[in-house]
Assembly symmetry: C2
Homo-oligomer: 320 residues x 2
Amino acid sequence: MKKLALGIDIGGTNTKFGFVDEEGNGYAENSFLTHDDRSFDDFLGQLDKEIKKAEKEVNYLFELIGIGIGAPNGNYLRGTIEYPTNLKWKGVTPFVEKFKRYFDVPMFMTNDANAAAMGEMIFGGAKGMKDFIVITLGTGLGSGIVSNGQIIYGHDGFAGELGHTLVNVFGRECGCGRRGCLETYVSASGIKRTVYKLLADYVDDSELRNIPFDELSAEMITNAAIRKDTIAIRAFEYTGRILGMKLADTIVHFSPEAIFLTGGLVNAGDYLLKPTRQYLDENMMPIYKKNPPKLLTSGLLQKNVAVLGASSMVWNEAAG
Amino acid sequence: MKKLALGIDIGGTNTKFGFVDEEGNGYAENSFLTHDDRSFDDFLGQLDKEIKKAEKEVNYLFELIGIGIGAPNGNYLRGTIEYPTNLKWKGVTPFVEKFKRYFDVPMFMTNDANAAAMGEMIFGGAKGMKDFIVITLGTGLGSGIVSNGQIIYGHDGFAGELGHTLVNVFGRECGCGRRGCLETYVSASGIKRTVYKLLADYVDDSELRNIPFDELSAEMITNAAIRKDTIAIRAFEYTGRILGMKLADTIVHFSPEAIFLTGGLVNAGDYLLKPTRQYLDENMMPIYKKNPPKLLTSGLLQKNVAVLGASSMVWNEAAG
């Protein structure tokens, strides 16, 4: 009987899920509104129903060998969602403990960036690598770190929060309560803030001058850059400079073989990658230059990374 | 027959070695001048003779189960010393390959900070911990990082160079060729530079005003602080502030259970530890405050850490 893993990605807006085979092929992928203003138990009830409906769509017999779940502040060690900023369920939600009542299979929970890193290792560009980092550039900046073939979770499961390394102690306010964190500069929301800073600093004409802050998106900034809007191009240079310099620091911690970038901001391609590479090279400690880490985009950009990544935790365990 | 491991620590000035049993007791410890202006082969010849002389001093029969070697830029993956700044042997020296001609036992080479971390885990304050960091505050700042019970070496063996994270892009010149690295501020040589900066900035009387830069030592600064010298006390505050702020960044990478400080600068006790703790707490991301990492001094301060640490790599392997 064919074996399948179930991957679930819980986001602030949508919850996506799908079955994934050993080769990374997806089956019966679906999604529904997370609707986290209802109770967590109600959410779990719907999740169970949606999955059981989808199971029938897989048109052959299969064995469900496990479930992987990616969620904001998902804790691998405890199977919990803890104090998420992007979900309305407060405090600590014992996800795995409660979901075991519905499915009696091995379950693995982590955050979306760790799931993306595992997906990259099992199905993507990091196949065969033992030391690499995945940086997700979405609303925030997430990171999943693999060292010696294992995700680094740390003693309480919250390692790998590179979005909260310090860029500037007097810098931008961060959702975490501090100032100057990397993700306030390098992320979809960070580059919006940078565009507004540049619109204040410079007098260049820009199509971005007509867009209110709350309507501005990373996609609009990318499209403006493609149309040679100097403010947009400068915003990517500013973002890439800060990212490149911080990655030089990341390297002295982990000495990775590669750093993979993923998330919406990566669609800007060389507008972002070129300055990032330049400032990474310029700031890299000489000892690493003999065998420098590669800066790459994710090998899963065209796929349902979140579901694939969540399911890959199951396949990683199955591989022993 | 009792089993012993041999630990060797190669420093720019002295090479220390000794036999260590499973409980961390040392036997026949000795040292000789590294004298690295001669050829590496000549050095190895003397090392062999000194060890064989010491073997006779262990007054019972024993089995040598392995040799651990700590050296500047010692590479665990390749058993080499690579481009060390504190040794005169240039380029890549294949230590383990050559030393195998003298002793046919398992050999493990790494740098002194990784050896210190392993020693802390096997014999010191990190017994039973799986996620911790050791920071060595000597001439430079070294770091050994243990995650999930394993030293983090990275893809080319050079992970854990926290002394070369960036404090200030326009900051102090560093031996690595860049500017503003952490160890230019936080180390025995870093605090000397800080004292001279403070002597320039302030008009306070200070016993340190009578000491030329090249004669000033971290011990003198510590003794001056104990005598309430305000420049010395401020120098430790300045050092602790920078260290504490950087450790807040270290934590988001690894989420360690504890951070151990060791090396000569730690003799200053609370003059250094108090500001370090204060700025670590103030800058710590809130998610870690529920179960914060402990800031401790090494559990091996009274021991021959370098030899013990080097030997502990053998005992770690022996434990499987």
